[in-house]
Amino acid sequence: MIAKIVCYALNGLEGVPVEVETDVNKGMPSYDMVGLPDTAVKESKERVRSALKNSGMLFPMNRITINFAPADIKKEGASFDLAVAISLLKASEQLLGAQVGDTVFLGELALNGDLRPIAGLLPILISAKGHGFTRFIIPEGNAQEARYLGGAEIYPAKTLGDVVRHLIGTDPILPLETAEYIPHAGAHSSADLKFIKGQPMARRALEIAVAGGHNLLMVGPPGTGKTMLARCLPTVMPDLAFDEALEITKIHSVAGVLGEEGIVTERPFRTPHHTATTVSMCGGGNKVVHPGEISLAHGGVLFLDELPEYKRSTLEALRQPLEDGKITVSRAGGTFTFPARFMLCASMNPCPCGNYGSTERTCTCTPAEIRRYRKRISGPLLDRIDLQVEVDDIDYDELTSKAENEDSAAVKERVDRARRIQRNRFEAFGINTNAEMGERELTEFCTLSRKSDEILRGAFERLHLSARARSRIIKVARTIADLDSSEEILERHVFEAVSYRISEMNG
C-alpha cells in the first residue's frame, strides 16, 4: 500500500511543501530513501525505526521505499521524522481509518518516541496556511510559537504514541487556543533612560534618532556609558505591531534563537562582537542558509560597539542592507532574501588611546594616528549615519544639577507622536520615517526658508562640512521639527541639526 503524508521543508524564510510517499512491498527486507534527502534526513531511518519500536508499534520487515517529492529540491534537517514515521505506519496498515491527507506533520523524533521541537516552525505554519493547509500536528516544544497563528487547528503532541492515539481517535489531543498578542509581554529589558546619569546631548540624540529612524554614532572615551545608552534604544522605540512581531519571530525561529515566550514581543537588540565575520553578519551558510545578525536585528537595533575595530569588509557589507532593508544571500544551493530593516547604533572612541577631548586624561595620540583611526570608517558608511554625538566624561560630582532624569516612557510618548506625523506625511510615498527620505521627498517636504538656507550655507563655510553632510542635516532638522510638532523647518531646528555632527569625522 502507498501512503502520502505532507510535511514542510524550509527555504530561507519560506516553507515549501514536501510529500513523503511510502511504499511497503513484499520482498527482501530493505529500507531506501530517494528524492534528494541530505544526511540528517537519511539518518531519520534509524530514529524512526527505534521510535516506532519504542512506542509499541511494528516496524515492517518488508521492502520499504520512501520518496520525498518534489524530488528536485534538497531536503535538510530532522523535521521530516514524524512525517516519515506516520507514512510508514499508514503504508503498513497500522493506522486504519485515520484521516491524514490534509494534515501537516512536523517534528523530529527521539529514539524513545518523544517529539523534539524544530527550528523555523512559525514560518512553515504561515506558509502552509497560505497554501491552504489548516490542520497541523507539531511537537509540544513548539507550541508557544504556534499559539499566535489564528485560523488553524494545531495539535501539539509530546510523543509519537500520542500522535497515533490522536489519529485513530482513542485519545484526541486538544487543539491549541490562539493566544492574544501583547507587546512587551514578558519583556526582560532592564534598561531605562532614567538610570542614565547626565549625558543630555546623547539622550536628546537618542530621542531624535528613534523618532526619525536615523542611524546613530556615539563617540566618546571608554567607560562613559555608550553601551548603556544604546541598550535604552529599544525601550523608546514604538511598540511592535502584531504583523511586525510575527515577521521578527519568523526570522528568530529559523535561526533557532526564539525564547520561551514563543513570539518576539520586544524589539531585538543585537550586539555582535567586532570579530564577527561578514557571513555571520549578513547571513549565509554552507547548506542551510541562516539569517545573519542584521536580520536578527530586523525591527530593532544593531549595536556595533567599537566600530573601527570591525573588519572593513564586514562594515561595507552593511551598506546595501542599510539602504534596502533586506539582504539577499546567494549560495550554490539557492538565493535567499531575509528582511533586515534595523536601526544601526554604533559607538567608538575618539582616538586610539580613547582620551582625546577628555577633561581628566591627556591624549597621547598623534594627529596622524587619530586621522588613521577615524579613516577606518568609510565615507559612504558614515553617509548613512545621520546623527553623530559626543559622549563625554564630565565629572558629575562637580555638577550642582539636581534635575530628575526622564524615564523611557516619557521619551517614547514624544517619539510616538513624531512617528505619527511622519506616517501621515509619507502615506503616499511608501516610506515611514524621515531617514528613508530620498531626493524626491527631500524637495517635497524639506523646503528651507531663505534664512535657514543661509544658515546652512554659513555652516558649510565656517564649519568645513562635507557636501554629503547636507541632506543628512536636513533630514535630522525635519525630525527635530516633527518632535517640535512644527510644520515648517525653523532656524532653530537647523541650528540644532548642525550640532549633531563631529567635524573631524567628516574630514
Binding site: 547626565g198 543630555p200 546631548m201 536628546r204 577631548g357 577628555s358 563625554d392
Partner: protein, 349 residues
C-alpha cells in the same frame, strides 16, 4: 634664472662639493668662491674627492637645469634677495631652495608656529591672527598639523605665506599635506635649505626651526608643550634677538605649558592681532562686530565668564535646555565667535 659666475661658484662649493658644513665655512673664509671653484685641488681638504674643472662646470649646469625644470630656484647670500635678517641669525643656511613667489623673500616676515596638537580655540584664534597679519607681513610657518596648519589656513588666501620645509622640495613631510604643499607652491612660497631630493631626517626639524626664527622679525607661539619643537623655534628666536609672542593658556593645560613658560620669561602676551601690530607701531583693521540675537548674547556672555565650558554647565548658567543650547551654540559657531573643543565643551573666541 640668471646666475652670476660668482653664484655658480658658490653653489658648487656649498651645494655640490662633498664637504662638511665646517669645511665649507673654512673654504669660504680661505678664498672667494670663484677661486675655490677654479682651483679646487688647492683648497679642498685632503682626501675629499675632486673632479676636474670641466666636470665641475657640467655639474653646476646640470644642477641649475634640474632646478629650473621643476620650477625651483636657489638663493645664495650673494643673491640680492637673500633675506637680510637671515644673514644676521646664528648659522644662516648656505643656500635656500625655493618654489613659488620669490618676491616674498624681500617682504617683512612674521613667524607663527604651534604644536601639532593645538586646542581648537587656539587654532581658531591663530588662524584669524594669521589672516590679519598677512596683510602686512609674509607669514612664516612650517607644514605640520595643528598650529602650523592654522597659520597656513589664515595666510594662504592672501598668498603672503612662506612655509619652510624640513625636507627637500621634492619631498613632503607630513606626507598627508601634499595638496596643501602644492597650494602653497602655487600661491605662496616654499623654502628649504636642503637639496630637492633630501628626505626629512630627525635633525632637519631642529635645523628648519632656526630658519623659521631667523627669517622673521617676531615669532608668535600659539601652543607649545614643555618639550616641543615649537619651543625650540622660540629659543632660536630669542638667541638671534627676535621678538617672541605667545598665547596665554590655562594653567596645567598640556599644550600650553610652553607658552606660559615663554610668557614668564618675558614674551609678549597676545590675545589678538592688535597686540602684535602695537609692537611694530601698526594698526590693524577694525574688527567686524557680529550681530547676535538676545539668546545668543546671553549664551556668549555666559561662555565668556566660564572660558571653556561643558554644555551642562552652560545650561545651568543660562537656564536653556541642553538641546536649545546646542542650537544656539551652533549659531555662535557659524558666526565665528564660539568654537567646539571636543567632549561637548565649547569656548568663546
Amino acid at each position: 634664472m640668471k646666475v652670476t659666475e660668482d653664484e655658480r661658484a658658490y653653489l658648487w662649493v656649498c651645494a655640490l662639493s662633498e664637504t662638511e658644513p665646517k669645511e665649507k665655512l673654512a673654504l669660504l673664509r680661505a678664498a672667494s668662491p670663484l677661486d675655490v671653484f677654479r682651483h679646487a685641488e688647492k683648497y679642498l681638504p685632503a682626501g675629499a674627492p675632486c673632479a676636474p674643472l670641466s666636470e665641475r662646470e657640467k655639474g653646476v649646469d646640470a644642477f641649475l637645469l634640474s632646478l629650473e625644470k621643476k620650477g625651483y630656484f636657489a638663493v645664495t647670500p650673494l643673491s640680492d634677495d637673500y633675506p637680510e635678517p637671515l644673514k644676521n641669525s646664528s648659522s644662516p643656511p648656505f643656500v635656500l631652495y625655493g618654489a613659488g613667489r620669490r618676491e616674498l623673500l624681500r617682504a617683512r616676515k612674521f613667524c607663527i608656529v604651534g604644536s601639532r596638537v593645538t586646542p581648537p580655540w587656539a587654532e581658531k584664534l591663530g588662524r584669524s591672527i594669521a589672516e590679519e597679519l598677512s596683510e602686512r607681513f609674509a607669514i612664516v610657518t612650517g607644514l605640520a598639523e595643528g598650529g602650523d596648519s592654522a597659520a597656513i589656513a589664515g595666510a594662504l588666501p592672501s598668498g603672503n605665506l612662506i612655509a619652510v620645509l624640513p625636507c627637500g622640495l621634492d619631498e613632503c613631510y607630513p606626507a598627508a599635506h601634499i595638496s596643501l604643499k602644492n597650494n602653497i607652491k602655487s600661491s605662496g612660497l616654499l623654502l628649504t635649505e636642503l637639496r630637492p631630493e633630501e628626505p626629512a631626517r630627525k635633525y632637519s626639524f631642529h635645523a628648519r626651526n632656526r630658519i623659521l626664527a631667523g627669517l622673521s622679525e617676531g615669532v608668535l607661539v600659539i601652543s607649545a608643550g614643555i618639550r616641543s619643537g615649537t619651543l625650540i623655534t622660540a629659543n632660536c628666536a630669542l638667541d638671534c634677538g627676535r621678538d617672541v609672542f605667545a598665547f596665554p593658556h590655562n594653567v596645567g593645560s598640556a599644550y600650553g605649558v610652553g607658552c606660559n613658560e615663554l610668557l614668564k620669561r618675558g614674551a609678549f602676551v597676545v590675545t589678538g592681532a592688535e597686540d602684535i601690530f602695537a609692537v611694530y607701531g601698526m594698526t590693524g583693521r577694525k574688527r567686524q562686530e557680529v550681530e547676535l540675537t538676545p539668546e545668543e548674547a546671553r549664551v556668549l556672555s555666559a561662555l565668556r565668564d566660564r572660558g571653556e565650558a561643558h554644555l551642562t554647565l552652560l545650561s545651568e548658567d543660562t537656564g536653556f535646555a541642553v538641546f536649545e543650547l546646542s542650537a544656539i551654540l551652533s549659531g555662535l559657531e557659524i558666526k565665528g565667535v564660539a568654537v567646539r573643543s571636543g567632549g561637548n565643551k565649547y569656548s568663546a573666541v
